[in-house]
């Protein structure tokens, strides 16, 4: 591929990533904001593909789009009736936050662009198969401990989510009964 093709692909993926992100922030309907997240996540998956991170393209689609986005949309639809689209969707920090975030992003972009990174294209990455095999070996070899820590984190989060989301139980009637019998005796 010529470098112009690659640049064009990068720029279109950048637009595909950033424009929906702006819409996520600015749209009034919260359900539309959830759906605008979809092209952003697809754009990031495309950027992973441009970076030759084959495994993470699939992981991004499976985990972010297939799990996290569906979870977010699920919660939005469960709670949709409280969101009045005519009510203000942004708090009063918005006048201060827009210049702050814009200047933060611009400043870090400026600093990162001026840093003398090694130029030139890196050598070709390994194929999808070899890369995934190497990653799997690393996860059960050198990096087994971080991998297990991530698993424990996920398990703890899932158990915590179940405990939090469980409907609050009414007072168990058994305690009262025990009290009554105790009083009679």
């Amino acid at each position: 591929m010529s470098s112009l093709t690659i640049l064009g692909a990068f720029l279109s993926l950048a637009v595909l990533t950033l424009f929906p992100a702006v819409m996520v922030i600015s749209t009034r309907n919260i359900l539309h904001a959830g759906f605008w997240l979809l092209p952003t996540l697809i754009g990031v998956a495309g950027l992973y593909a441009m970076l030759d991170a084959h495994f993470f393209v699939v992981a991004q689609v499976l985990i972010y789009i297939g799990a996290i986005l569906v979870l977010i949309l699920f919660a939005l639809m469960l709670t949709r009736d409280v969101m009045n689209p005519r009510a203000p969707q942004h708090n009063r920090l918005v006048t201060a936050a827009v210049p702050t975030c814009a200047s933060m992003a611009a400043l870090s972009a400026l600093l990162l662009a001026r840093h003398p990174w090694p130029t030139g294209q890196p050598e070709a990455a390994a194929g999808a198969h070899d890369q995934t095999v190497a990653l799997g070996r690393a996860l059960i070899g050198t990096y087994a401990l971080p991998f297990e820590a991530a698993s424990v984190l996920l398990l703890a989060a899932l158990v915590g989510a179940i405990v939090l989301a469980k409907a609050p139980q009414t007072e168990p009637p058994s305690a009262e009964r025990i009290d009554c019998t105790g009083g009679e005796k």
Partner: protein
């Protein structure tokens, strides 16, 4: 002009800024979660860009991204459980209305 490391870094800086803006200014708790997801995506993009251009033989960046995915999934699950509780207790999802304490 070829696409270099700085292109990816600038893009992810912009994505991080947009995510931070969403997390700070949106009133809906789920939209705040969406902003956090955008920021996590920007961080993962940075990891993979550095991996590709600086250490293509190393495995550290990919392991970090896997942990980043795990953290994002855990954050989404826990955050939505909190959101459901918020809805049940306050009847609203606006984070500036759901204040149990004075002030």
């Amino acid at each position: 002009m070829t696409v270099g490391l700085s292109h990816y870094l600038i893009l992810s800086a912009a994505l991080f800024g947009l995510g931070a803006l969403a997390a700070i200014t949106r009133r809906n708790a789920v939209a705040v979660l969406m902003g956090v997801e955008l920021m996590l995506n920007a961080a993962n993009l940075n990891f993979l860009a550095f991996w590709r251009y600086l250490t293509p033989q190393g495995m550290e960046a990919q392991v970090f991204v896997i942990i980043g995915f795990t953290v994002a999934a855990a954050e989404a699950a826990l955050g939505l459980a909190v959101v459901l509780n918020l809805y049940r207790d306050f009847g609203t999802l606006n984070v500036d209305e759901a204040s149990g304490l004075k002030g």
